[in-house]
Amino acid sequence: MSETQTTGTVTSYLSFRLGDEMFAADVGKVLEILELCPITKVPRSPSYMRGVINLRGKVLPVLDTRIKFGIPASEDNVDTCIVVLDVDMDGESLHLGALVDSVEEVLELGPSDIEPPPTLGSKFNPEYIYGMVKREESFTMILKVDKVFSADELAIAQEVAEKKISDVKAEGEKEESDKKTAKKPAENKKK
């Protein structure tokens, strides 16, 4: 999968657009692509949680990837899609929908096509980037899907989001969340 190191074989990646940036995910992690449908908002959930949808009788959580990645939000339009991903979370498989501005194409890439992520000057934490592909004049970032959407990351973001809801409550929790954010400097870098 996207986490595995160079195997010498060609792997397929689904590329999608978020704002002006291009990203790609291993097709092995992509279950399906849905058109945008009404999403039921879940109250008191973090801002990047768009809500839940009914996927053939199952409840599927949908994340607003733009907010999660800190890319300015844009209006939903006809190109907006939900990419259903199979994320490995602490050894358990979890299905979730990721809202993207548009789905572009499937890239067939060999190990030699992928460059290592930049260590300096990137607005994205290299921890979440598996590699980069240069296409025409722009770069496409290949994501470590499991890592990006893993539970820990969401939990931290959630606490941050809760701060907004109740400042008073956050006062009490400040100590705690400070402790945790200190443990994960990644979160601060990303913002």
Binding site: T40, V59, S166, K169
Partner: protein
């Protein structure tokens, strides 16, 4: 055969469970005779079953065990604790034997003979003489039975017709004496032929009108029979025929049938009798087989008795059924919606009927899946008994409300955490007898288990009168583990709640029983997995109470469908009291969050505000009055749509910290409604409001101070 064996194993497990239950009741009430009988009976069934299916070791072992209880029920020995101990140990051993398929590992072998020795000791030492004597009598009886049986079977059966001369009385012979004499030779059946007796006015008392037909089975020879008639053969027509070489009179069918064959007038034909004999004998063979079968079926006949009122169903089949019912209800919801939108009255009627039926189906299925808490009690009693013995503490265990029923998945998830709580109570809670006396407490500690319904929840309370939780100790521990800062100012309740934190154990030393580093946090986690909550109350030196609050069921709830903006929510109907219309401005221009409903002022929670939904606010909102812990609290929503059966679907791990929503459900039109946990909402928002208010006052105070 394998199939029967499996069945036997199942039954044996059940028998053992019953046995354990009976033994534990005996522990409380050792003199109860009906219990002695029951224990003996169960052991006997177990023995019968195991011998039939080739579990010879269990058979032999249970036989020995059974003999103790034979003595007990015959009041030859008194049931004492040591006997019960050995019995319970033996029951455990039988369990092992059952699991291993009657095989013994080297280690168990030792245990096996140990236990047998102990059992022998009891049976022999207490009343050795009586026992041997008794056994001998039994053996003797057995032998006698067999002997008689065999002899009888070999005794030929004769048909004897006695037709005395009319003037037999004149000789001074009483023919009845003849029959008496015949009867003394063996087993006989006599038919009197009375057809020749004339009307009363013609009857001459000095004449004999009667003749007899006698069926005799005897081991005496035909000559011996003839000897009976030696003095009367000149005035009696005697005919002796051998019908069969075996004793036909032993066969019930023969004795029943023979009276039909024997005519009232004159003697029966030998051929007919012989035919009957052959028929009967052929049947008898079959019957014997049947009897043999029956002895093996004895075991099953008992089971059958149970089967009539109970059917054992694999639990995964129930799960399947439950899932199907859930699916059905979801589908039914779309049908209802479709029917309403199509204005077809016929369709609406059908949809309504289906709704009614599926509701009933749902309720029935629920009921099927409910099992009483009682099923767990044996394990608990056993645990308390064994542990208190092991730790040398005297504990009285009482249980109330064990008939309370819960969904089987909940019961399954509940057993382990409750066992853990018990272990904690016995190990850390209850003091040793000496310590208790020193403290001026009764020597015997008590643990009370109580289950009861309240609203939509079932509560389970486990209360001990042990030493209670030492807040100072907890505080020290929490500080040393870094859970709280040394200057933190926590109330007693807050301190004792710390025991629920992972990695927290107050026991200063690790014992085998509890305190293996697995703390109450695991209990909390396991309980919350089944949507339950755990609360702890304690008073130092007085005792601890742990309360578990559980939902009645896990998958389908009756709810009230409401709408805020365009989002649908479901509020559990069980907590809903009444709905009111209130103007939005009344709700918004309110400082103390109280609204007057039905003449009384109740606090309310503005869900629009709490959920941060600001669009499309209607002029008039609905306030739903909720009954929460005997308080009335209002929840405001835009619109009440109606009753709705919600099939609860989990929101998944991403929302696991979101307490106020207990799940989601899919509506008829395919959209999703969130199922709100009204209790949690009130809890959360109430706390927040309080905190906000406190912070506000604190702010004022700070300003004043400055």
């Amino acid at each position: 055969m394998e199939q029967f064996k499996k069945k036997f194993l199942e039954e044996a497990t059940e028998l053992i469970a019953n046995l354990e239950q009976a033994l534990l009741s005996l522990d409380e009430n050792p003199q109860d005779k009906s219990l002695h009988e029951e224990v003996f009976r169960i052991m006997h069934s177990l023995k019968g079953g195991s011998s039939m299916f080739g579990f010879d070791k269990i058979d032999a072992f249970t036989h020995e065990l059974e003999s103790i209880y034979d003595l007990v029920r015959n009041q030859k020995i008194e049931l004492k604790r040591n006997i019960l101990d050995i019995t319970l140990e033996s029951v455990d051993h039988i369990k092992i034997l059952l699991e291993s398929g009657d095989e013994l590992s080297a280690e168990n072998e030792k245990n096996h003979s140990n236990l047998l020795n102990k059992i022998y000791k009891i049976t022999k030492s207490v009343s050795g003489d009586i026992i041997t004597e008794k056994e001998e009598i039994e053996k003797h009886d057995d032998k006698n039975d067999n002997v008689i049986h065999n002899q009888l079977s070999d005794k030929p059966t004769y048909q004897i017709s006695i037709n005395p001369d009319e003037n037999i009385f004149k000789n001074g012979t009483n023919p009845l004496y003849l029959i008496d004499e015949l009867a003394s030779l063996g087993h006989c059946k006599v038919f009197a032929k009375t057809n020749k007796i004339p009307e009363f006015d013609e009857l001459k008392p000095e004449l004999c009108y009667v003749s007899w037909e006698v069926f005799l089975s005897t081991d005496k020879s035909i000559d011996d029979i003839n000897d009976v008639f030696i003095f009367v053969d000149d005035i009696c027509e005697i005919e002796i025929n051998k019908i069969d070489n075996s004793n036909l009179l032993e066969i019930t069918a023969f004795t029943n049938e023979i009276s039909n064959v024997v005519p009232d007038d004159g003697f029966s034909e030998l051929d007919k009798i012989k035919e009957l004999a052959n028929n009967v004998k052929a049947n008898e063979v079959k019957e014997e087989e049947a009897i043999k079968d029956q002895s093996s079926q004895d075991f099953y006949s008992q089971i059958k008795k149970n089967v009539i009122s109970n059917i054992r169903v694999a639990s995964d089949k129930l799960d399947d059924l439950m899932n199907l019912v859930s699916e059905l209800i979801t589908t039914q919801a779309s049908l209802t919606l479709y029917a309403e939108n199509n204005q077809n009255s016929e369709l609406v009627t059908i949809a309504e009927n289906i709704e009614k039926i599926s509701r009933q189906l749902r309720d029935n299925t629920f009921e099927i899946c409910l099992i009483p808490i009682d099923t767990m009690m044996v394990r608990f009693k056993r645990l308390v008994r064994d542990l208190s013995f092991e730790l040398d503490k005297e504990i009285q265990f009482t249980a109330e409300g064990t008939e309370t029923e819960l969904d089987k998945t909940i019961i399954e998830g509940l057993t382990e955490p409750i066992m853990h709580i018990f272990r904690n109570s016995i190990d850390h809670g209850i003091e040793s007898a000496d310590e208790r006396i020193k403290k001026g407490k009764p020597k015997q500690g008590t643990i009370n288990f109580k289950a009861f319904h309240s609203g939509t929840n079932v509560y389970i309370q486990i209360k001990d009168n042990g030493r209670g939780l030492d807040a100072e100790k907890i505080r020290e521990k929490a500080i040393s583990r870094g859970f709280i800062s040394p200057e933190a100012n926590l109330s007693y309740q807050e301190l004792i709640n710390l025991v629920f934190l992972p990695g927290f154990s107050t026991a200063s030393k690790v014992t085998e029983v509890s305190g293996r580093g697995v703390g109450l946090d695991v209990v909390v986690k396991k309980i919350s997995d089944i949507r339950g909550e755990v609360e702890i109350e304690s008073q130092l030196g007085v005792g601890t109470t742990i309360t578990i609050k559980l939902p009645l069921t896990m998958s389908i709830i009756d709810g009230l469908l409401v709408e805020i903006d365009k989002t649908s929510f479901v509020i559990p109907l069980s907590s809903v009291d009444k709905c009111f219309e209130v103007k939005t401005e009344t709700l918004n221009n309110n400082f103390n969050n109280r609204v007057k409903l039905d003449g009384s002022l109740i606090p309310y929670i503005n869900l629009r505000k709490e959920f941060d939904i600001n669009e499309n606010c209607p002029d008039v909102q609905q306030v739903i009055r909720i009954n929460y812990d005997n308080f009335n609290v209002g929840l405001s929503v835009d619109k009440v749509i109606g009753e709705y059966q919600a099939v609860l679907k989990p929101l998944g791990r991403l929302f696991k910290d979101l307490e106020i929503v207990s799940g989601a459900t899919i509506l008829g039109d395919g959209s999703i409604a969130l199922v709100l946990d009204s209790g949690k909402i009130i809890n959360t928002f109430d706390r927040e409001t309080l905190e906000r208010r406190e912070a506000y006052y604190k702010g004022i105070k700070n300003i004043e101070d400055n």
